[in-house]
């Protein structure tokens, strides 16, 4: 069965591109427009990987990761931050809240797939 990935980003164009890239590689993708929507998506359907943006209205990426890590069913699910902010401080915060890794934007579709394959195969 295809692995299911949750893509969280407030930008429709980025979200569509991520989804398109992943779908064309055979993954199943669910989308969410911000952290809050991401949490409810993740609750309603168990996903194998979460890809999240950092800067979003409502609930940002870090808060989303922290929230998901607090849920038993997401304690070990890989979560990648897809962010334009690749500074140390941001990564430290990412690690602190339990992110699995990070990927800088603008992303290259090939790279995205490469990383995703490494994490969930």
């Amino acid at each position: 069965m295809a692995k299911k990935i949750l893509a969280v980003d407030d930008s429709a164009s980025i979200r569509q591109m991520v989804s398109f890239t992943l779908r064309s590689a055979g993954y199943e993708v669910v989308e969410a427009v911000d952290g809050n929507a991401g949490v409810s998506q993740a609750k309603s359907t168990q996903v194998d990987l979460v890809l999240t943006d950092q800067n979003m209205p409502g609930m940002d990426g870090l808060t989303l990761i922290r929230t998901l890590r607090g849920l038993p069913q997401y304690s070990a699910t890989p979560i990648l931050m897809l962010t334009t902010e690749s500074s140390d401080a941001m990564k430290q915060q990412g690690r602190a809240v339990g992110a699995t890794g990070w990927l800088v934007k603008p992303f290259d579709p090939q790279k995205l797939l490469e990383v995703v394959r490494k994490v969930i195969g």
Binding site: S11, I14, Q16, T84, S87, Q92, W102, K111, L113
Partner: protein, 717 residues
């Protein structure tokens, strides 16, 4: 696998335009002395999102401008730079430039490179001229320039010594990186920015070694694969092999934070300040990908805003997950189909009337139910085309701000009812006339501050834009508390132009004079006015939408211009009339009155047709049967009716057989189904299945101009 990104570009354009509009409206209402942190965050996020998308889609020019803008905004929201009034202006200008860049990419038109260069320079200037919030202590950094082609080392030394103190230095070559250790008060981003002219930012990475007092050499770990993969652009926070997060608390982390064991995983191993003893005491210089911009077309990354975002819920953000984008054509098609349904339904209803109610009780109740459902469906579909008028209103804060500044006036803009919805077709057409009215109010209505104070008014004038529903109409008002129209001057002007005026005219009639084409010349009506400039065009535009304009004004108190529009263009209120057994519809908005003519009121001008005297005013009289070459059924005028129509400021009298009644009709375009017919604006299907033409009143008025207004005036005199 190659992935075609072009399909997402149009989404990006829409998104960026939305962000720009949002940014502009936030900037316009910002209180420079005490900016709302939430607003600053939202403005920053707008720039940030545009940058992210632009970089992804490879619009480097867009990325460059937004990058500088974002940088400045970021520092403002972090209180590193105090927001200045002139910055708001620059930000607004930046928004304009970004808009122009977007448009150039979208429409493939030429780009104004000078404007881009100029705004980038201005922004850079702003960034540089602000005192940099220098950290209290100098921090020790290690700067790594990745192995590769040579660069100007002397220049680099010069730059570095300007920024700080070089403590150690190890040259590199095509295989080994260059290493510099320096003490500086500047932050990493500033360093990378400053060095951009010497070394490509992609090659630079900087690591903040927390405590340089520790003695250690500058060795590059040879086996560190991750160190070389500078263009990876991603990393994992822990070895993938043991990626169970809960377990890692015990096994994975701890004092000896596991360094990447997987070849591709790179831990951002720096920032030992936080988990000082946590990992690797000053591990040998290891270029992390952390600060180096990595992906190919990516500009310098800015330092991370460390603050967590304040939750900020805006209508536009919220709307994303509850709406879908649909092409207008689809909605129009839907509306057309519903129109057909409305016609079919009224046909059924008409036929059902002839049935025996007792025998066909069930059928009849079904027909009644169909009617209700159809009406509701029609309303729902029409509401899809509805958009809030804020789409038009939102451009005025900027316009008012700029124009008021230019004219040296103080103006407060109030917008009321900007959620009022109207047909999308109107939204586009409304903006020109409305802009005209707003400009007029600012230019000629609202007085200069000293004039206002001398008239016991507040120095700051108020311009109000108001939209609301009234009956089946939408009313949009542009009001100001300015000088108002001057009756005397308008009358004087009208006389000068030879218009038919008298001093006994009502105020309302006088105001209407400014819509006369003659008034739209360069010569002005009053010292501050010139209110007539282009007003005939305004009225024409509004009338083309089936609406009308009204004026209320009081000298010294102010003026209100009201635009009244029907809810939609697809359905109109019309009066059905008959002429020689044919049925026609006249749009209600053009009808002034109808009357039963007396033969004595009608005069024939040799070879020029008839005119009718309506209470002292002579109007050209035309008969509908003549226009459409029908066989006249009524021979004497007294047996029929005359309908007074007004379009574009001209009145005519139309002779018809009878008035039948008022209807809401579904407008069918005649051109798409047949061809253009002079005097006919469209067609509709009546309940009994008959096709009725909708009259094009403006065209009829033109046809009737066989008698000139001067001749008519002469007759009245």
């Amino acid at each position: 696998m190659t992935i075609d990104m072009s399909q997402f570009i149009s989404v990006f354009f829409d998104e960026a335009a939305e962000h720009l509009a949002n940014m502009e409206s936030l900037l316009l209402k910002i209180d420079v002395s005490a900016p709302d942190p939430e607003d600053l965050n939202a403005i920053f996020r707008a720039a940030h999102s545009i940058k992210g998308g632009a970089a992804t889609f490879g619009f480097t020019d867009l990325t460059e401008v937004t990058h500088v803008l974002e940088n400045l905004l970021d520092r403002i929201r972090k209180n590193e730079i105090i927001l200045q009034p002139e910055m708001v202006d620059v930000f607004l200008q930046s928004g304009d430039v970004l808009q122009a860049i977007l448009a150039s990419h979208r429409d493939h038109i030429d780009l104004d490179r000078a404007a881009i260069a100029s705004i980038t320079a201005t922004l850079n200037h702003l960034v540089e001229n602000q005192p940099i919030a220098a950290p209290a202590n100098q921090s020790a950094l290690t700067l790594i320039i990745s192995a590769g082609e040579d660069f100007d080392a002397v220049q680099l030394n010069h730059e570095l010594s300007r920024l700080g103190e070089i403590e150690d230095y190890e040259p590199g070559d095509v295989a080994t990186p260059w290493l510099y250790r320096l003490k500086t008060a500047f932050d990493i981003q500033k360093l990378i920015d400053s060095l951009a002219f010497v070394v490509a930012p992609e090659r630079i990475s900087i690591e903040s070694s927390a405590d340089m007092s520790q003695d250690f050499g500058l060795f590059l770990p040879e086996t560190e694969e991750g160190a070389i993969s500078l263009d990876e652009g991603y990393g994992f926070f822990e070895p993938l092999e043991s990626s169970t997060q809960t377990a890692s608390e015990d096994d994975g982390y701890g004092f000896f934070e596991p360094l990447p064991t997987s070849a591709n995983a790179q831990i951002p191993a720096s920032a030992p300040l936080q988990d000082g003893e946590g990992y690797g005491f000053f591990q040998a210089i290891k270029p992390t990908t952390s600060t180096a911009p990595v992906a190919t077309n990516q500009p310098i990354e800015m330092p991370a805003p460390a603050t967590t975002r304040v939750p900020n819920e805006r209508a536009t953000d919220k709307a994303v997950d509850t709406s879908i984008r649909v092409s207008v054509e689809k909605v129009d098609q839907l509306l057309n189909l519903v129109g057909e349904l409305v016609i079919t339904q009224s046909m059924l209803a008409q036929n059902a009337l002839q049935l025996d109610p007792v025998l066909h009780e069930k059928l009849l109740s079904g027909v009644a139910q169909l009617e209700r459902n159809t009406r509701e469906l029609q309303e729902s579909v029409m509401s899809i085309r509805m958009m809030p008028i804020s789409f038009v209103f939102n451009r005025y804060p900027r316009l008012v701000r700029d124009l008021a500044a230019k004219l040296g006036k103080q103006v407060e803009l109030k917008m009321i009812g900007d959620n009022t919805e109207l047909d999308k077709g109107f939204i586009e057409k409304l903006s020109d006339p409305l802009t005209h009215l707003v400009r007029n109010s600012l230019d000629h209505g609202i007085e200069l501050p000293d004039v206002r104070t001398s008239r016991n008014k507040q120095a700051q004038g108020t311009l109000t834009l108001k939209a609301f529903h009234q009956g089946g109409n939408i009313v949009i008002e542009v009001s100001d508390d300015g000088a108002g129209l001057s009756r005397e001057r308008i009358l004087a002007k009208a006389k000068e132009r030879g218009l038919n005026v008298s001093d006994s005219m009502s105020d309302n009639e006088v105001w209407m004079l400014i819509f006369e084409a003659g008034f739209s010349t360069a010569s002005e009506i009053t010292d501050v006015s010139g209110r007539g400039v282009g007003m005939d065009v305004v009225r024409k535009n509004i009338q083309s939408m089936g609406g009308r304009v009204e004026i209320q004004s009081m000298q010294g108190i102010g003026s209100t211009m009201s635009i009244r529009l029907p809810l939609t263009l697809a359905i109109l209120d019309g009066m059905s009339i008959s002429a020689s057994d044919e049925l026609y519809i006249i749009p209600l908005t053009f009808i002034v009155e109808s009357l039963q003519p007396k033969s004595s009121e009608i005069k024939t001008m040799a070879g020029r047709g008839n005119v009718i005297n309506v209470r002292g005013e002579y109007l050209p009289l035309i008969a509908l049967y003549e226009i459409f070459n029908l066989k006249p059924k009524i021979n004497s005028f007294e047996e029929g009716l005359v309908i007074i129509l007004e379009a574009e400021g001209q009145k005519i009298a139309l002779f018809v057989d009878d008035l039948l009644g008022q209807h809401q009709v579904v407008v069918k375009n005649l051109e798409t189904n047949y061809r253009r017919v002079n005097g006919v604006a469209g067609a509709t299907i009546m309940g009994d299945g008959h096709v009725a033409f909708i009259l094009d009143v403006a065209a009829l008025v033109k046809m009737a101009q066989h008698v000139t207004p001067t001749e008519l005036t002469a007759m009245a005199a």
